[in-house]
């Protein structure tokens, strides 16, 4: 055992392996806790079903608002599951270990964000056509809805991660997380929901996807950096 001690600790392991191990770890934790996996989807389902009860069962009225309803519900579902991202790790000290890794924190945070998206965002994307059907969304808009959600929900996870990273050390967070995260998410919501509505009116939507893609690219490059800096502050 003694010969493992060496002053020139080798970091021959690539960042890629640390990235994969972190991604896998978070997915395994979620799979072992079925709640983490089920809750976002159930929440999404329930919120969407509340709208017809609150508005009207009329197909014409529902189809008008369907895109917005699905998008707002996806936003809320993503936000409510954000706490899983760093909370447990903060409490048990795993976050400290993450911060003390010689690997670039950017990639480790990115791995955790991707895991969060796979757990809470992707199921919502997959389930969205069913809910769109229940809300009488015209069939020509289905693909647009799924695609905008596919590009947009990762952005929600990435932005949300900044908010959780800033608030993870707080005892009473209450609604602070929502107050911080929701305004940041408005551009994605606006563009995503509008793309679906515009397709229903037969308008071209190339611009919408270009904008969503640009926001995703920006979020991918910058949000994990902000999250990493915020985590260092919260763990201080």
């Amino acid at each position: 055992m003694n010969n493992t001690v060496s002053s020139h600790a080798g970091t021959d392991i690539s960042t890629w392996q640390a990235f994969c191990a972190t991604l896998k770890r978070d997915l395994v934790i979620a799979l072992k806790r079925k709640n983490d996996l089920l809750n976002p989807i159930m929440f999404f389902l329930i919120v969407v079903s509340l709208f017809p009860l609150g508005i009207s069962p009329d197909p014409v009225e529902l189809s008008k608002v369907s895109a917005g309803v699905v998008w707002v519900s996806a936003l809320l579902a993503s936000m409510l599951s954000l706490d899983n991202l760093y909370r447990a790790d903060y409490e048990d000290g795993s976050l400290e270990q993450l911060l003390l890794s010689p690997q670039p924190l950017y990639f480790l945070v990115l791995a955790k964000n991707i895991a969060h998206w796979l757990i809470s965002g992707l199921p919502v994307v997959v389930l969205s056509p069913l809910l769109a059907y229940m809300l009488y969304l015209p069939s020509e808009a289905y693909w647009t809805l799924v695609l905008t959600l596919l590009i947009g929900t990762p952005v929600l996870s990435l932005f949300g991660s900044i908010g959780v990273a800033l608030t993870v050390g707080l005892g009473s967070r209450g609604l602070i997380l929502a107050v911080i995260v929701l305004p940041l998410s408005t551009p994605v919501l606006i563009i995503g929901a509008k793309a679906v509505t515009d397709v229903m009116f037969g308008l071209p939507i190339g611009n919408h996807f270009a904008l969503l893609g640009a926001i995703l690219a920006m979020a991918l490059t910058m949000a994990p950096l902000a999250s990493a800096a915020a985590l260092r502050i919260s763990v201080n």
Binding site: T167, I180, L182, P183, L184, P187, S234
Partner: protein
């Protein structure tokens, strides 16, 4: 340059310098405000479309322009806090947030009053009003985060990050809201733009009002920052001396 920079970072230096500035700023504000208000409210002719209502512009535009400047200012102060760990920058950042929220609120309120006159409704999902509203939420977020974190250093850094992230987002929000709005209801955002081609007797008083409100903003910012300085430095000798001098007078 560096010496000047580190001197600027000293709260005491700022406090004493602002002692000298404040009287001048007060005088400038009163003069500008008096001229501006008098001109705008009494001399400026009625608008051929909006009549007397146009006078709301002389409050709304200055207030709105400051509310737009506050977020970038907070982000710059935040960057200085993070990079150079300058305490004064964080005091400024902390002071800007509530002022920015107030000015955004005022811009929303004056916009609503104006809207009631020209659109016949207090609230319209007009692009500018909507992005102001979201910016208002962002300010509230920064203030809430600041008050929730107990450690002053951690709060300073966390708010700096949020301010920077927010400042990057503000133009995106503004752009997406405008784009969202103009395609469906292009009619709602006239009138705000009708300022530029107007004759000098309309925009000169506007310019005066803008500078008056800017001076007011600077005064408010300095006063708040001074408060913050006294509070944070309350255990240092110069503040103790200052307080005892004030008491004895």
């Amino acid at each position: 340059m560096w010496l000047w920079f580190s001197k600027l970072g000293s709260p005491r230096w700022f406090y004493e310098l602002s002692n000298k500035w404040l009287p001048w700023l007060y005088a400038a504000m009163i003069a500008l405000m008096a001229i501006g208000l008098f001109w705008a409210l009494l001399i400026v002719p009625e608008d051929y479309q909006q009549g007397q209502t146009i006078r709301i512009m002389y409050v709304h535009v200055p207030v709105a322009s400051i509310s737009l400047a506050c977020f970038p200012l907070m982000a710059v102060a935040g960057t200085i806090t993070l990079v150079w760990k300058m305490k004064l920058a964080d005091m400024v950042a902390k002071s800007v947030a509530p002022i920015g929220a107030w000015f955004t609120g005022l811009a929303l309120a004056s916009g609503a009053i104006w809207g009631d006159q020209i659109w016949g409704t207090w609230w319209a999902w007009d692009a500018r009003l909507t992005s102001l509203l979201i910016q208002f939420f962002l300010f509230i977020g920064v203030i809430a985060l600041r008050s929730a974190i107990e450690s002053q250093d951690a709060a300073a850094k966390a708010c700096a990050i949020l301010a920077i992230v927010g400042a990057i987002n503000v133009p995106i929000i503004k752009y997406s809201v405008e784009w969202w709005n103009t395609l469906h209801q292009p009619a709602s955002s006239i009138s705000f733009d009708s300022v530029a081609p107007n004759p000098p007797e309309v925009w000169v008083p506007l310019l005066i009002m803008i500078s008056a409100v800017y001076v007011f903003f600077v005064i408010a910012l300095i006063l708040r920052t001074r408060n913050e300085i006294l509070q944070r430095e309350r255990r240092s000798q110069w503040v103790i001396d200052l307080v005892s001098r004030e008491k004895s007078v």
